[in-house]
Symmetry: C2
Subunit: 189 residues, 2 copies
Amino acid sequence: MKKSIGPKTIVFPAPAFVVATYGKDGKANAMTAAWAGICCSSPPCIAVSLRKATATYSNMVTQKAFTINIPSENLVKVVDYFGIATGKEVDKFEVTGVTPVKSELVNAPYIMEFPFVLECRVIRIIEIGLHTQFIGEIMDIKADDSIIGDECTLEIEKVKPVMYAPEVRKYFGMGRFLGKVFHIGRDLI
Amino acid sequence: MKKSIGPKTIVFPAPAFVVATYGKDGKANAMTAAWAGICCSSPPCIAVSLRKATATYSNMVTQKAFTINIPSENLVKVVDYFGIATGKEVDKFEVTGVTPVKSELVNAPYIMEFPFVLECRVIRIIEIGLHTQFIGEIMDIKADDSIIGDECTLEIEKVKPVMYAPEVRKYFGMGRFLGKVFHIGRDLI
């Protein structure tokens, strides 16, 4: 018998991605977003939801471009800071010391120190409520050589990604290998 | 210097959620979905993207309701099976032995053995490309007593969730605690 806990926004895992954009003045900004995920395989797209109050929201509407920067464990303090501070008041890159690099594909910066980044152009803006969802077509992924495996896949064991737990507000690392997709379920057939 | 690996749908972590629905005939079906995530805090909403070819797609369009079932590690084989088999050909509940329970809030089943479930009504359907995105308003969360903590939060350490790694197609468990959100980033200020 399950208990009702009310209509909360809890899923596990949630991501901890950093969205990077340019302001009207060409200044790079970045913020952490957990309300995000891949939303289409072809064209390859990712959705990220933002509150209108954020500097990133305005930048996305103006520039129609953003990058999603996927952190490793060692960047978790930077990720958290990007979620605390506002680009309207401080230069978050200056404070954290990480490096914005201008994408050659879209008018947005990506962050050099993050192991891989998705370069996206905004193709849809969907008003939902407190959050507005931006759907971005993934134009390319740029990755550090050290995490690229055979056939241009990315080795998650080397990335050591960060997962976010909503409501309890904690970050966790990646755990043990549980099995291969489209494989371990065959035991049940 | 980062390398281009092309426009792929890779993010870490991606989730491994199970979407459960009823068919026109009232038969419960379930499938695994990784292209999903929370997309709004108020109203609380979750987005999940499906290919039109799936039985779940047709069920969502018809019933305008679904549940998101969050797995624990011990359910990973069931999760994988739900991603392999098609509800058009087999009764996935019969094969896996897990139990569909009719939601009292929406016209969809949830799965008893999963530690917590989100009961959702479809409020938007967005055509993107190969995938169609369904936005569901979260009407309630039902959770096992054993994972409910203080103030009706859910204890991720007891859930032991599953993360999915796209492209390399592997499942992983949750890892070590890295820090508190809106807290560890203050070290940088």
